[in-house]
């Protein structure tokens, strides 16, 4: 029966339509790798140039003593987001899709809410001198953002979120090593995950 082939084709089409219209699949793996390198460079600079090595949850230094570190962190963030947008844009256009559509919009909204909440808390803690908690807070909220965002893009992103959350919790306990966990979370896991996504989804 040739009809059978038609029906199998119908189902394949339905499945692909449901996925394409509900998930943003142009996310670039390579931009994750680059984001990892930016983060590692940032940690290295903060550590070696500016002596950023929090050992206690509360520091008696002034918040302004760390202003260079905040600038580095913001630069890393802007570079990482810029790279992700540029690479994903290229990816989307090469597939003949728009980057700003209902799927990317939904991904962005769902990722932004936990991220903004985390960034706000990090700034408050920072201004109160709880510098030792910043690596763990940023990892935790970033992990939550990825976990939520995973529903709107590749499923594997959810698992990456769980890894970041675990690293965040460990970093909160071992404050002396928080910077190392921060480098592992934002640096190494990004690189490994970026390569994985790149190979798995050929982008």
């Amino acid at each position: 029966m040739s009809k059978k082939q038609d029906h199998i084709q119908d189902i394949a089409e339905i499945r692909s339509m449901m996925e394409r219209s509900s998930k943003f699949l142009s996310l670039s793996g390579l931009s994750g790798v680059l984001a990892g390198f930016y983060a590692l460079t940032g940690v290295y600079l903060a550590y070696s140039l500016y002596g950023f090595r929090p050992t206690e949850i509360i520091t008696n230094k002034q918040a302004s003593d760390f202003s260079e570190v905040v600038v580095i962190a913001l630069l890393v963030l802007i570079l990482a987001i810029g790279t992700a947008v540029t690479f994903s844009y290229r990816r989307a256009t090469s597939k003949g899709e728009k980057i700003w559509n209902s799927t990317s919009r939904r991904l962005l909204v769902n990722v932004s809410v936990p991220l903004v909440a985390g960034a706000g808390l990090a700034l408050v803690l920072f201004s109160k001198g709880f510098v030792g908690l910043i690596p763990s807070i940023t990892l935790l909220f970033y992990g939550l953002a990825l976990f939520t965002g995973g529903s709107f893009t590749f499923n594997e992103i959810k698992f990456l979120g769980v890894i970041q959350i675990l690293l965040g919790l460990i970093a909160a306990y071992f404050v002396e090593y928080a910077l190392i966990f921060w480098a592992v979370g934002f640096g190494f896991t990004h690189i490994i995950y970026g390569i994985y996504i790149h190979i798995r989804h050929k982008q």
């Binding site: 029906h7 119908d10 189902i11 339905i14 339509m17 449901m18 219209s21």
Partner: protein, 99 residues
Amino acid sequence: MKISFDDLHKAFESRIRLGIMSVLAVNDSLDFNALKEFLDATDGNLATHIKKLEQEGFVESNKSFIDNKPNTRYYMTAEGKDAFHNHLEVLEKIINSQK
């Protein structure tokens, strides 16, 4: 059990109509341009197929204005959801019965 092709709803014979239903099944509502982008269809073609689904009562629309431009958002009715799920079940049965 004998499954007949008559159980497949006529409204879903067209790939575009099936596509519209698939897309609306996983999105609360979408405007015309979003549908057009996902389905890769021309304005006229898409409009005809949406009208057909509206006549069946599977799809409804909300008209509003965004920046003085008319914006129509389409969504699936409860009836449409049932019909779509039934359609998937029948497709599944047909395929299984021919293994």
